[in-house]
Symmetry: C6
Subunit: 82 residues, 6 copies
């Protein structure tokens, strides 16, 4: 995601897949509030609000689900489905 552009969903490791999920969650916020200044202003408030923290974690979880599927769950081996 150089220059904020989403290139691909495939990542070498689950850790990098989680990082991508975080960036997609942020990207979804930037769409509605494009001002970096205002987002920085809001940050101290919501980073100490438990419900906002959990809600953010949930958006990351949904994106991670997508990315994990895109990476075939980073399986070392492929199970045989029939």
């Amino acid at each position: 995601m150089s220059n904020g552009q989403l290139q691909m969903l495939q990542t070498p490791t689950p850790e990098e897949g989680f990082d991508l999920a975080i960036r997609l969650a942020q990207k979804g916020v930037e769409v509605t509030q494009p001002s970096e200044e205002i987002r920085q202003m809001l940050r101290p408030v919501y980073s100490r609000n438990v419900d906002s923290l959990i809600a953010t974690s949930q958006v990351i979880a949904i994106h991670f689900q997508t990315i994990a599927a895109a990476n075939n769950y980073w399986r070392a081996w492929t199970p045989h489905y029939g």
Copy 2:
């Protein structure tokens, strides 16, 4: 999605898939509040409300999940499932 009509879920890149997810999330709001005027009126309020920003990001995430699946996750190669 010319004229607001949703043509297909396939997009050339993940970035365009994300854009489509954003438009579907907005489309879901326009259904309930068709007035452009009222939506513009509500925008300054919710674009500074952290919980609304996160909730919007979540709806985008759900649509992106659908669109990513529709595009077979924009995989360059197809894994062999058996």
Copy 3:
């Protein structure tokens, strides 16, 4: 969905699939509040409430996910999985 009865999940286009998702979201509300009169009374309130608008858009997104899968994502061609 003639007479409010859900006939099938297959639709010719994604646009019609989205329309069906909207109707399923409404159907889920009518279950709990069957009175058309009370629903009409509530409408002006929630159509100007940002959080209700986003929440409605989310329910539509979940149904659209189901319907898109039911339509094999309206793919013109079938990718080869193996």
Copy 4:
């Protein structure tokens, strides 16, 4: 779901699948609040609360997603995946 027991997820039609989704959503509430009396007491309150109505519709949507998959989306024909 005779005697409140969930027998199977397969239903003849989407409409009956939606009905099952509604019953599963209610079953999930009864688990935490088993008293029919208290649930009846709460009903008039939440059936006029827009956010509760939308939240209920969302739980139904999640269950309907499961049931639709269980029924192979009630497809008349089977698409060929390769």
Copy 5:
């Protein structure tokens, strides 16, 4: 799930799958609030709060989705996918 340990996701029937979903939802709460005493204290409050009841039903619905997939939807017969 003897001794609170999750053994497997496969269950003989959908009803038992739903029971497992309930236990997983509770397990997710116990993680954050391990004290049985405090949880018992909170119970009378949230079992009469409509929004908590619906939110709990939603967590059960998400776990049931996982468990239903794990059990191949308890299908008596296997559909032919190609």
Copy 6:
């Protein structure tokens, strides 16, 4: 997940998969609030708040869904899909 790094989604048992889901949910919170000190400060508040407990359980449920799929639901045997 040694040193907080997510190594793989495969786990020997469902119980360990659930543990991983819990750690991913926490990881999603740490992203937004990296200070261990502040998180410890918030903990007593949200661990007695029913809605926060349910919301946390939901994030775990979403991650568990991903992990269960990654582990092919820890099936002892592989069903035959055609």
